[in-house]
Amino acid sequence: MYEELLEDIAHKSALRETHTGVKIVTGAGAIILCLLSPGFLAPLLVAAVLLMALVFLARVDVSTLGHVYAAPALFAVFSVSAIVLVAGGGETFWQWQPAPWFSLSVSRAGINQGVLVFARFIGGTTGLVFIALTTPMTDLFSVMRRLRVPDEVIDLAMIIYRTIFMVMAHVVQVYGAQVMRLGYSTFRESLHSFARLCGAVFISSWEAGEDLIRAMEARCYAGKFAVLGKDRPADPLSLAAVATFFVLTGAVAVTTADVTLF
């Protein structure tokens, strides 16, 4: 019914204490490098290096990574199929043109574009997952404050963050009770049970919000939450490793720019 949050894994990650800026630069830089790469090999190399870092340095379970990629991969398969079918160009292996303005085909250029987009998806998602699995949200709040994100947005984000865990615990309890009473036995019953679950959670969230107002007033809230973030120094070894990673993958992106699968 609900999914495991990557946040829980990030708190247990062996890279938890590494400098937050280094981890964000690594993940975000990897995403930009994947998008800039004209060939498909560099994004795959980015994905391979970051996955190894996640498994061997951050000590993330391999089966967890499989779960993380399952939902995005479904969207990727649908969308890449569409890109391959509409792209056209080059040698054509199959074509269907039901209207003068609409044609579906499988061509050499189409397959190559599909492979490039899929490789960028794998590399980019791995960059995102690297940040998600090594950096808890509380560390990111400190970074947001340093980047001068408006206080209202950070405060709102912190309350949403806190509420997620509170609401999730409630959802698990209500859902468990509904399942035990065969609340999801038929489609019609499922709709009603799901709506009752959402309604009950909305009301309890609202009541939690009212409690929070009282708690904030009692603690003299003056329009800005305190953000406690530790300033860890950046380790020279990790800086050297990140620099080597970008030089290596950047060089591969340049030298393999013209390499295609077909």
């Binding site: 609900y2 969308s79 509409v86 792209a87 160009g89 303005w101 609409f102 579906l104 980019g124 309350i159």
Partner: protein
């Protein structure tokens, strides 16, 4: 419906960020005005954002058995208006990408435009058009949430079509294909989400109608007509 990380070429990712940022700036301005008028709105907005996050991570009952998630943005647009919703949605989308790997950072701008701006705005327009008419409260919510969902999916298809125009027929041909592919899952999803959120409102009306009165979502007469004993 999220566009995943790495899917949009850099120039299109940057373009959608450029479209999203002015909407967010105006949303933050509206948020500041709301908070200066009513300080209690912050925790209530926060818990609503948390609720939307959880709602969007729950699997909807599906006829085909496929994995479908509601967006919940129509609900927020009805309760808080489209501009504040864009800020709440931007935060929720950031959390979804970092907590669940749904969406991405480079594609966050495109996702904010589809799920946080156009979808909620369309839902809000429908809600405002029907709010003071004789159309019943559950039907108003159903139409608002279903239209918000459908527009989100139409805009996502447009974003993909602009980034990947077809060899024959260009953007239009590509748009038709993306619409057709995503219609398989998104049209039933929009209908089911509309029904579920209409039932959620009905549930809130019968158990805690004061919430809807506090938010001034519907006139008290309409809430009473829907079965809510407003005190």
């Amino acid at each position: 419906m999220h566009i995943m990380e790495g899917f949009l070429p850099l120039e299109w990712a940057a373009f959608w960020w450029a479209v999203a940022i002015p909407c967010l700036v105006f949303g933050i301005y509206q948020l500041r005005r709301t908070l200066s008028a009513d300080r209690e709105a912050l925790p209530l907005l926060g818990v609503t954002g948390g609720f939307i996050f959880i709602l969007s991570s729950l699997k909807l009952p599906s006829v085909t058995g496929s994995c479908s998630h509601p967006t919940g943005t129509g609900l927020s647009a009805v309760c808080f208006g489209p501009f504040v919703t864009s800020v709440v949605c931007a935060i929720v989308l950031l959390f979804q990408s970092l907590f669940l790997a749904h969406g991405g950072l480079s594609t966050l701008g495109a996702n904010i435009v589809s799920m946080g701006v156009v979808g909620p705005f369309a839902g809000w327009v429908v809600y405002r058009a029907l709010r003071d008419t004789r159309v019943s409260l559950p039907l108003t919510i159903f139409l608002s949430c279903a239209i918000a969902d459908l527009l989100t999916y139409v805009v996502t298809s447009l974003e993909l079509a602009l980034a990947y125009p077809a060899g024959v027929g260009g953007v239009v041909s590509s748009f038709v294909l993306f619409l057709g592919i995503f219609a398989i899952t998104q049209v039933p999803l929009a209908i089911v989400e509309g029904i579920v959120l209409a039932l959620v409102f009905k549930y809130i009306v019968s158990l805690k109608p004061e919430i809807l009165v506090r938010l001034r979502v519907f006139p008290e007469e309409k809430i009473r007509a829907a079965g809510g004993g407003v005190q």
